[in-house]
Every structure is written in structure tokens, then in C-alpha cells.
């Protein structure tokens, strides 16, 4: 009982502490590729610390939604990250929900963020919200289907079971084509959901292009800190899903301190590696026009659909 509590606590602390680091790594890689020295990878921590101590300015035209959203967003994202195996394949909270819960906890946060963007009544917020709604509605099916494709081979939609069985190569007939397609689909979804370059540019405040930044434009002080931290946490959650669903090897399969420490180290390595990949992609590609985003997300959806269909065809 106490062990489980400790594992849950450790997972929450690891997720919360590592998430700004991942954002820092991506920024550092981008800076290096642009021949800049760039801020230290720990800059996001300083930013968060500074924001938490700043005064909050709230527009008089806003309702309770605006003040509640940062807390809802942060809490739902943190809850979702407790359901995803990070360093131990069988999460103590796995009884509380499976992959569908994770997806809709994230969707709850997105929903409130969209409302908050509309709430302040500024033109930018409305624009950002409508764009986010398009992207979110297109990524959701692709995300669910791509995880289902892996879930089908593992025989469960529970993330812990999927990761555990894949890590032990137990009862899994791995079929490279569907897995590869699901991986590609989930990677595109990751880029879109976390507001990365082909879909959104996290470094811009140009009104024509921004999506996420436009929604959070009205936030300041500790609210902004919570929103930023939650989006970093979401990014980390997606990278964890990518690495632990498709290549969980190295994760601890039993709750032993030494193996969990090893699992933590391997996870850090995998997540940082993926962060470097994302940084390189952000430097290589230009942002897509908004109306071309549907093409990219269409690719993700078709790939994930094929991954699921393959399972049935190949088993006939």
C-alpha cells in the first residue's frame, strides 16, 4: 500500500520536474541548429519560478471559467500523466482508467482552454480557440486509433497492460507494419496536439499563425505559469506514450527500487532523445498553412485506421 503510494508520488514528481526540462532541450536544440548559443536547458524552470511570483492581471469582462481553467487544465493533465507508465510498467492507478480516460482527460483540459480563450472576448482568443477546436477534433480519432492498434495486439486498452506485455514480449505477436503505422500516426498527433512546428509555432506571437499562444494570450502571473507547465506536461506525456508504448524496453516490470531507478534513467534518455528529434524537425520544416493542417492530420488518421484494420486482416 505504502509502496504504491510512493510509486504514484514518484511518478507525479518525475513528470512535474522533467517536463520543463524537455521544453528546454527542444529550445536548446533549435538554438544550436540556428547557430545561437541559446538559453540553458533549465531556462523554463526559471521562467516558471518568475511567473509564479508575478502579479495576476485578469480582464474585468471574464467569468469564472477564465480563473478556473488553469487549475482544471493542470489537474487534468497531471491526472492523465499518473495513468501512463513512466518508469514502472504497472502503474498503481491503472485500475482508475485506461487509454480512453487518458485521451479524454487531455480533451477536458483542451476544452476548458478553448472556453477560456473565448471568455476574455478578445479577437485573438476567439481565433486561437476555433483553430484549436479544428486541430483537436482531427487529432483525437487518430490518437485513439493508433493506441488501439497496439492495444489490439496486447489484448487490452489498459496502458499498463499494454506496456507490461510489450516490455516482456509476452503474448504479443508483433507485426511491424501496423506498429510502424501507428507510431507514425501518434508522432504526427504529438506534433499537432502539443503545438509544434508543422501545425503551430510555439515561438511566435504573430496573430496570423498562432494557435496555442493566441488562446493563452490573456493569461499572466501564476495562471500563465500553470498553463505553461500543463502544456509542458502534456508534451512530456505524449513523448512518454510514444517511447513506452512502442519501445518500452528498459522500463521496470517489477516494483524493485534498483530496477525502477534504471527504468527512470532509460525513460529520461528516451524522452530527451525524442525531444532532440522534435527540435530537429522544428528546425527543418516550415509551418503549414492552416488549411493544409487537415492534410497532415488526414495522413495520421489514415495510418492509424490502417494499423487497426491490418490487425483484423492479418488474423483472418
Amino acid at each position: 500500500m505504502i509502496e504504491s503510494a510512493l510509486v504514484v508520488l514518484g511518478q507525479a514528481v518525475a513528470a512535474l520536474l522533467v517536463s520543463p526540462f524537455v521544453v528546454g532541450v527542444i529550445r536548446k536544440v533549435k538554438a544550436r541548429l540556428q547557430c545561437r548559443r541559446g538559453a540553458t536547458v533549465f531556462q523554463p524552470y526559471y521562467d516558471l519560478f518568475k511567473l509564479f511570483r508575478k502579479e495576476v492581471v485578469v480582464s474585468t469582462s471574464t467569468s469564472w471559467i477564465f480563473t478556473a481553467t488553469p487549475y482544471v487544465l493542470f489537474a487534468s493533465t497531471l491526472a492523465a500523466s499518473l495513468l501512463v507508465p513512466i518508469f514502472l510498467s504497472q502503474v498503481p492507478f491503472s485500475f482508475a482508467g485506461d487509454v480512453i480516460t487518458v485521451v479524454y482527460l487531455l480533451a477536458l483540459g483542451t476544452f476548458f482552454l478553448i472556453l477560456a480563450g473565448l471568455d476574455a472576448g478578445s479577437a485573438f482568443g476567439g481565433m486561437g480557440s476555433s483553430r484549436e477546436a479544428i486541430v483537436a477534433s482531427l487529432t483525437e480519432p487518430a490518437m485513439i486509433l493508433s493506441i488501439f492498434a497496439v492495444g489490439l495486439t496486447a489484448g487490452s486498452t489498459n496502458l499498463s497492460t499494454i506496456v507490461h506485455k510489450t516490455a516482456l514480449m509476452q503474448g504479443i505477436v508483433t507485426d511491424p507494419p501496423p506498429h510502424l503505422m501507428a507510431l507514425a500516426a501518434l508522432f504526427i498527433v504529438t506534433l499537432a496536439e502539443t503545438g509544434r512546428v508543422p501545425v503551430d509555432n510555439p515561438a511566435t506571437h504573430l496573430e496570423l499563425t498562432m494557435i496555442h499562444e493566441a488562446m493563452v494570450l490573456e493569461y499572466s502571473g501564476r495562471y500563465l505559469a500553470l498553463v505553461e507547465w500543463a502544456s509542458a506536461l502534456k508534451l512530456l506525456l505524449f513523448l512518454t506514450l510514444l517511447s513506452n508504448i512502442f519501445a518500452p524496453w528498459g522500463i521496470a516490470t517489477e516494483a524493485e527500487p534498483s530496477r525502477m531507478a534504471l527504468g527512470l534513467a532509460v525513460w529520461l534518455g528516451k524522452v530527451s532523445g525524442l525531444a532532440v528529434v522534435i527540435g530537429v524537425i522544428e528546425s527543418m520544416f516550415a509551418k503549414l498553412r492552416l488549411f493544409r493542417v487537415t492534410d497532415l492530420l488526414g495522413v495520421a488518421f489514415i495510418l492509424s485506421l490502417l494499423a487497426v484494420v491490418f490487425f483484423y486482416i492479418l488474423r483472418v
Partner: protein, 222 residues
């Protein structure tokens, strides 16, 4: 099969052919002509790797030669020719499509499923090295056909044609462990000549119509 377990060997070949299929979808979703050519080159790299894997696993040495020829002709020579053609054109991307990209993707998805259903009885009968490669090869051929139909610019249609050829080569390698070397050489020569001719043809199209839209060819009638 050597030192590698047969199931792992067949999974490795499957993985490579799945990469070929992935690049197919990227080609269908891509509007920029030069990026299409790059993706075709990447697909040919995966094809060469698949062929080399099959050669290694079966011990049939002439497939190595085919893989080498794939690298020389389809990864280096033909993309170079197509890039030269694109440099001369005044278009860099497909703007008007016969079928828009999301529906193209849906159709290609349906084509893949069709290919898998068609090949299912054959796969269960035969003693193939891999489970999926034949189906994937057929899917690639169908997607290549579709690209030729759905796109208007001559360059993308050439890429569609070359994708069909890649699919056929994958099918031959996966299902029959490659064709006899002399046939293989003939096919490579054909593809090279076809690439050259279509390159020249595209130049002529550009000179005559100031565009590489092949639907303009219907204006040739008296």
C-alpha cells in the same frame, strides 16, 4: 536463413516493406514536386535495403546486384534527372488536383485494404519469406496507379509511374526471390530510358504549353 531466426527475419523484411508503404502515403500527401522526388528517392533506398535483406536471408546473390542497381538508378540517377526537369519548370507544387488530398488519402487507405484482401488467399497457400510483403507490394502498385490518375503535373505522374515500378520490384523480390538477373537488368534499363524520355517529354510540354499540366494535352486535337 543463416544465424537469424526465420520469424525475426520475416519481421525485418516486413518492417522494410512497411517503410516503403509509409513513403507512398507521404508522396500522396505531398504537394511540392521536388519533395515528391526526394520521397521517391527515399522509398528506393528502403527498396534497396529490403532487397539486400532478402538476398542476405535467402543467400541468392544476384539480388545484391539488383539492390545495387536500385541505389544507382533509382536513388541517384533518376531523381537527378527529375530535379533538373523541375528546375526548368515554372511550377514548384501541385495547386489544382483532380482529387483533393484528404480524399486521396482515404482512397489510398481503401486500396491498401483491397490489396490485403486480394493477396490473403495467396499468402496462406504459399511458402513466402514474409507475410505482408506481397500485399504491400500490390498496395504500392495500386497507390502508384492512383497517383498517376489523381495528379495533373507530368512530374508527379512520373513519380507515380516509378512508384508502380518500385511496387513491382518489391513484389518480385518478396514473392519470387527476384527475377532472373537478365530480366532484372532489362527492367532497370527500361526504367532508366522511361525516366529520360519522360524528362524530355516534360521539357517539350513546358516549351509548347508553358505548363506541365498533362490535361492540356487534350487541346492538341484539330
Amino acid at each position: 536463413m543463416g544465424a537469424i531466426r526465420p520469424d525475426i527475419a520475416s519481421q525485418m523484411v516486413d518492417l522494410c516493406s512497411a517503410l516503403l508503404l509509409l513513403t507512398c502515403f507521404a508522396i500522396v500527401a505531398q504537394r511540392r514536386l521536388s519533395a515528391c522526388v526526394d520521397l521517391f528517392a527515399l522509398q528506393s533506398v528502403f527498396l534497396a535495403v529490403t532487397a539486400a535483406l532478402v538476398a542476405f536471408l535467402t543467400g541468392i546473390h544476384h539480388i545484391y546486384i539488383a539492390a545495387l542497381l536500385t541505389v544507382i538508378i533509382k536513388v541517384i540517377v533518376i531523381p537527378r534527372i527529375l530535379k533538373k526537369v523541375i528546375e526548368r519548370l515554372n511550377v514548384t507544387r501541385e495547386l489544382v488536383l483532380n482529387v483533393n488530398i484528404p480524399s486521396s488519402l482515404l482512397i489510398c487507405g481503401a486500396l491498401v485494404i483491397l490489396a490485403f484482401y486480394i493477396t490473403q488467399p495467396i499468402i496462406s497457400l504459399g511458402f513466402l519469406l514474409t507475410k505482408d510483403s506481397l500485399a504491400i507490394a500490390l498496395a504500392i502498385v495500386l497507390i502508384g496507379f492512383f497517383t498517376m490518375i489523381a495528379r495533373k503535373k507530368a512530374v508527379t505522374q512520373v513519380v507515380g509511374f516509378l512508384v508502380i515500378e518500385n511496387g513491382l520490384f518489391l513484389g518480385a523480390t518478396a514473392a519470387a526471390y527476384g527475377m532472373p538477373l537478365i530480366v532484372e537488368l532489362g527492367v532497370f534499363f527500361d526504367v532508366l530510358v522511361a525516366g529520360l524520355i519522360i524528362g524530355i517529354f516534360t521539357h517539350r510540354l513546358q516549351d509548347t504549353f508553358d505548363s506541365v499540366d498533362t490535361s492540356k494535352l487534350t487541346e492538341l486535337r484539330e
